[in-house]
Amino acid sequence: MGFVKRMSGLDRRIIFVIIGLAVIIPLLIPIGLPIIPTAPARATYDAIQNLPEGSIVLFSFDYDPSTMPELQPMAIAMLYHCFTKHLKVIMIALWPQGPQMAELSMQEVNKQLEAENFPLPEYGKDYVNLGYKSAGGLVIIGMATSFAGIFPLDTYGTPISELPLMDKIKSGKELQAVVDLSAGDPGIPAWVMVSRMAGYPQPPEPGSTDITGKMYLLGGTTAVSAPGFYPYLNTNQMQGLLGGMRGAADYEKLVNKPGTAIAGMDPQSIAHLVIVLFIIMANVFFFLEKRQEKRKAT
């Protein structure tokens, strides 16, 4: 079999091995490629940075372990940012395993804060985990009226009336920011479509830092879904968006806390380069094979 024909029909298992090596080698021998945060990531960071101390941020953990590599680093970096700015955090989940993702994120954040001798956030005062509630958009609508009506107990079974943080806020209308870490539906589309009409505060004007009576809607999503949400960003329905592991790496860079996302950028870049080379190779050998067949025919 000629070289061109052999390369055109290359066994896909060889491609799998090469892609695998393209991921493993940069993980073991980091290159340190530069990471320049994108504008949407910077907008997300600036929004949290603009919140005054004591502001209450709602984190909606709408993902499960299948998308942890992309969304967990975002959760950890954003929670770290919030706690270092002394913001208060309410965690909810519209996906069943969201509360566990929230707990795992907090364990990692506490480790980071402890390593810097930063006072650890206290459960009940600085953050609460209200757990999972089914029905997606209806939960968002219900929270606009009352948190207690939707989440009478937190994820550990404690009545929310016994949590000091929940004395400061009774409904979603008093939130300063919502961060939705979303792997699908319910998630960002539900928050964008429902929140403003349900009575949550309106977004601040583009470029404005005055957030009195306003609410940021920020999102983190898988790379698969990110292109579909950029229209929300461009129309100011969302004020920030992190897309995939790259978005998480951008945020880790902005808060200066390198984690698994930044570590994953070298293998990501190398793997993409390998894929591009394979695509070029495949096209070259495709056209060479066609030319050979034409010559044989004539």
Partner: protein, 234 residues
Amino acid sequence: MELTNISFWDFFGVWVAALLTLFIFSFLYKDNPFYKLAEYLFVGISAGYYVGYYYYNVLIPNFWIPFWQQGQYEYIIAVILGTTILFRLSRKSGWVSRFGFAFVIGCGAGINFITYLQSNAMAQIYGTITPLVALVKGENGGILLDWKNTIYNLVMIIGVTSGLVYFYFSKPHKGLLGVTARLGIWFLMVSFGASFGYTIMARISLLIGRMQFLIFDWIKMTWDVIGGKISVGF
């Protein structure tokens, strides 16, 4: 992960997760019993886990407690409607499920009609109303042409218009309409390509996540246990 001692069950759990990961990856060579074992285990455990999870986290707090402990008897209506959906499984009585589905679809359509129209149609139309020529105030107070935003706005308006023209099928795509539709196809293909590129990035990210687990959680932890840096205890 920096640990000096871990419990046996954590250590065992990491090994089970690593082996199952490798079993799934073995499919890349060819289908085999190890892959099948991992696949069936995943399906079975997911189903069992979610039955238990939904019983304790949905049925009990959303129906059992309000109905039996708080006297909110109106919740029985929701349970009856939900139960009718299960009749879908019966060939003879499947028609009963129409009541439950009608309620779900009707409510969903009613809520989403306005919200979807607002966020995905009206807001997007509003977002495309941008100046064809973007101007900006210069340092000396004069008005300057903002090239970047002008080109961006022009590309966006041309892309949106031509893309919409492509989906206009009431007239044959000939002449000016045909040319515009053809341009629309190019914009659509470029956007699909960008979306596909993001999809590839997502899949590579998941592979990177698994490799990070295998290398830094499984192999490194096992090496440290063998080397005595980490002790495993009950």
